[in-house]
């Protein structure tokens, strides 16, 4: 190596390069391991894996595709946030403006179709994990984390559904959130609500104080709901999902690598 490519070699020998990459060239097994271990993004991944484990026909690449789509949704979502205002006066016209007046107006469509695709890939990922039996010990905890991530994906879809603020959005959320009426103990039409009211001696769980009210910020879908769903959609759920995804990827590594028999 020495003597060849003097310029590249001098970069590699520079203090700046060495301060970022604290390992040598990947020309021996130790350095190959270090490259993965010492990178904050890569260290979540297995250092090495079985060739059979990464066969496309085996994994369908669905977990990776889901993560890729999450990144697409994050990037396009942040771009949309530069134009979208979550108020009853502006929300719908901002959505129209995003299509008609803003350069690369297709960004909103990418966000929408990416969301649909992510729901599909996350289901297929779960289906694959089930078919390959990859939920079995010692991976049962990661299956649980995955189920929560699936629910969060659906909630991201649901909260994003309201943001265009058209008739479809308002009525879809009206219909969808009616399920929260039947939350056990916490919904005013759910099982156990009357029991709680009886035990407390006053109407604690009503249409104005139950789970659905907390979700909608009112008894019906209104402007307060739009703001609440916006914050849930853009900050709260993505944050929780990111933390859980880090755990999910970490546990893939710790529980024996990508699927495959142990």
């Amino acid at each position: 190596m020495a003597g060849k490519g003097g310029f590249l070699e001098s970069i590699r020998e520079s203090q700046a390069w060495k301060s970022i990459f604290r390992h040598g060239a990947p020309d021996n097994p130790r350095n190959k391991v270090l490259i993965v271990l010492m990178n904050v993004f890569l260290h979540l991944h297995p250092i090495r894996m079985k060739k059979s484990g990464v066969r496309m026909s085996f994994t369908w690449c669905m977990g990776g595709l889901t993560f890729f789509l999450f990144l697409v949704e994050t990037v396009t979502g942040v771009l949309l946030m530069f134009y979208y205002r979550p108020t009853a006066d502006y929300a719908y016209s901002d959505i129209i403006a995003l299509r008609e007046h803003v350069p690369i107006g297709i960004m909103r469509e990418v966000h929408r179709w990416g969301a649909h695709a992510m729901v599909i890939t996350v289901w297929l990922h779960m289906f694959r994990v089930f078919l390959t039996g990859s939920y079995k010990p010692p991976r049962e905890f990661n299956w649980g984390v995955g189920v929560i991530l699936l629910v969060l994906t659906l909630l991201l879809s649901f909260t994003g559904y309201l943001l265009p603020w058209d008739q479809l959005a308002i009525w879809a959320i009206t219909v969808g959130s009616n399920m929260a009426r039947a939350t056990p103990f916490l919904g005013h039409e759910g099982p156990g609500a009357s029991l709680i009211n009886m035990l407390l001696g006053f109407d604690a769980v009503t249409a104005g104080s139950d789970a659905r009210f907390a979700l909608l910020a009112g008894r019906m879908v209104g402007e307060a709901t739009l703001l609440r769903f916006y914050v849930l959609h853009c900050i709260f759920i993505p944050l929780i999902a990111s933390v859980l995804m880090a755990i999910h990827f970490w546990r893939v590594r710790k529980d024996g690598g990508i699927s495959g028999p142990l």
Binding site: A214, A217, R219
Partner: protein, 175 residues
Amino acid sequence: MPTPSYPEAPEGISRRTFISWVTVGWVAFSAALGAGLTAVGRLFFPNVTFEPPQQFKAGFPTEYVVNKVDERFKKKYGVWIVRNEKGIYVLSTVCTHLGCTPNWLDAEAKFKCPCHGSGYYVTGINFEGPAPRPLERFKIALSDDGQLYIDKNVKFQYEKGQWKDAGSFLETAAS
């Protein structure tokens, strides 16, 4: 032979005192955390909502025409006020299927939901589409000044036999 020396515990803190203080600390921390989380949970239930009130006055009985579905309060309060020969009742505009708002079709004398096609008679009884039960009725009474007084906090469900209860129907003198 020198005896091994151990560092002495600081003056005034015994093992027992230390554990007591740790316990006190953890209890205080847990209580503060619990109080903080409760306060944050309370944040999601504002003291004031900018929705129409659940109780309201709806004008005088004479303003309502016999055998006609009155839609003047449909948009604001979500109710139809219906008067027949015997009296007045208040129907909820929430479809019992999934919660959309049906339309009153005068020519066909029925409530028809645009979402999935549920149909209700003028009484509120369901007769077509996926609706599993009749529309709900709200409490109606006369206030001191003679106006109708409607309370949406109290509802009457037909399938529970509540349409016979006092307050579900306001009898009016023939006019």
